[in-house]
């Protein structure tokens, strides 16, 4: 089979995960007083689930009248964009792993993409658009299996995932009106269920990785939640101001409480691998600082469905 078709086939588990989530996004956008076109535009142009949900969540929380451009709404827009950008900074890691393991690049020496056999700048720019967590999950698995991933395979994978995301958004936005009231509210609540599921998925993924710790993830989520609640409820801040601060502070607190001061040898992370497991040998042994929970060898291999990349 052609690489593109194989990529498309590999996108099926991703697509079936994206579709209902995208429907929820479409519904949430409509219930915020925005149009089907607004919902579709977001999925077509951004293609980043968590950031899109964050954006619509902050948009609703800001409580501005939909469509009005005032000084206040410009501030809100800037806040949403900054928060979304912070959230998507993690794609820098994923893109760099994929970019350096594209078939045809001189992937070993850190100067990929410039060799004559590699994919051109246009192909690379298109591939970059579709790097989501789930696409990275599958691509990372291919890289682990075969050393590289073919650009056409990636394109197939991304086209499959993107179609489900955009299609589900449109279906959700259009079906908003015909659904009963309770079901619409329930689908709005699914937003929080989705966030909780994504958090649980992160914890599971960290638990699987050798030497990885779930403590910092729990601390990051918990402290960000507490800070956000304190700023919003205690100090009366609006969501746009409180959220980015809570997010950054939560991550920093988790780093500090886990004792992130690493030895100099661990300053740079190897490309392509599973970074936290390597590098600082000997350092992990006895430093039981704070909530760190090293995974016991008995529980590192939960079950076989974990490689499907849809978590």
């Amino acid at each position: 089979m052609h690489s593109f078709s194989r990529g498309l086939m590999a996108a099926i588990p991703i697509a079936s995960g994206y579709f209902p989530v995208a429907i929820t996004f479409g519904l949430v956008v409509r219930s915020a007083g925005l149009s089907t076109l607004d919902a579709a535009l977001a999925s077509v142009m951004v293609f980043a689930g968590a950031a899109q949900f964050l954006a619509i969540g902050m948009y609703v929380a800001a409580g501005t009248v939909a469509g009005q451009l005032t000084v206040g709404s410009l501030v809100m827009i800037a806040q949403i964009v900054i928060a979304g950008w912070l959230l998507n900074l993690r794609h820098l890691l994923m893109s760099s792993v994929i970019a350096h393991n594209l078939a045809g690049s001189s992937e070993e020496l850190g100067t990929p993409n410039t060799t004559s056999g590699g994919p051109g700048i246009l192909t690379r720019s298109v591939i970059a658009f579709g790097v989501t967590d789930e696409v990275f999950g599958v691509a990372g698995w291919r890289i682990a299996e075969g050393g590289t991933v073919r650009p056409r395979y990636l394109l197939g994978l991304e086209v499959g995932a993107y179609s489900a995301w955009v299609g589900g958004t449109v279906v959700g936005a259009l079906s908003g009106e015909i659904l009963p009231e309770h079901l619409r509210v329930a689908m709005g609540l699914a937003l929080y269920a989705l966030f909780a599921a994504l958090l649980a998925g992160q914890i599971r993924a960290a638990r699987r990785k050798e030497g990885a710790r779930i403590g910092p993830l729990v601390v990051a989520a918990g402290s960000a939640a507490l800070i956000n609640a304190a700023l919003r409820v205690g100090l009366g801040w609006d969501a746009g101001a409180a959220f980015p601060l809570a997010m950054v502070a939560g991550a920093v607190i988790a780093m500090v409480s886990a004792g992130e001061a690493r030895p100099p040898g661990a300053d740079f992370v190897e490309k392509g691998g599973d970074p936290p497991a390597h590098g600082s040998t000997g350092e992990r042994a006895g430093t039981g600082a704070g909530p760190r929970q090293d995974t016991g060898p008995g529980e590192t291999a939960p079950s076989q469905e974990d490689t499907d990349g849809t978590s």
Binding site: L54, G67, A186, P216
Partner: protein
């Protein structure tokens, strides 16, 4: 129709997200991030998800149902159910909860 304020949000997100995703494909020197930066970027999503859930979930119309949905989703995902199943089960159980209590 497109609402201009939302369009600006979307364009802003497009630029911010795409640039972050594309930089490693455009410039080869970005493959080595300092370890603390790497670690920070790994922790930001968890922090964001925590702050996305709390306190907003407490402000919903039927808080018992609103709080149950993420708790259920968290437990199901930790037990290994995939995202599709979790989202559908959460929607259906929230729907049932609202029908009973709402």
């Amino acid at each position: 129709m497109v609402h201009p304020d939302w369009l600006l949000v979307v364009v802003g997100l497009l630029v911010g997200t795409y640039v972050v995703r594309a930089i490693p494909f455009w410039f080869s020197g970005i493959d080595r991030l300092p370890a603390p930066v790497h670690r920070f970027l790994e922790l930001v999503p968890a922090a964001a998800l925590g702050a996305l859930i709390i306190p907003d979930v407490l402000f919903q119309a039927t808080p018992v149902v609103a709080i149950s949905a993420p708790v259920l989703a968290f437990v199901l995902t930790m037990r290994g159910f995939n995202l599709t199943v979790v989202v559908i089960v959460s929607i259906l159980s929230a729907w049932a909860g609202l029908a009973l209590l709402g």
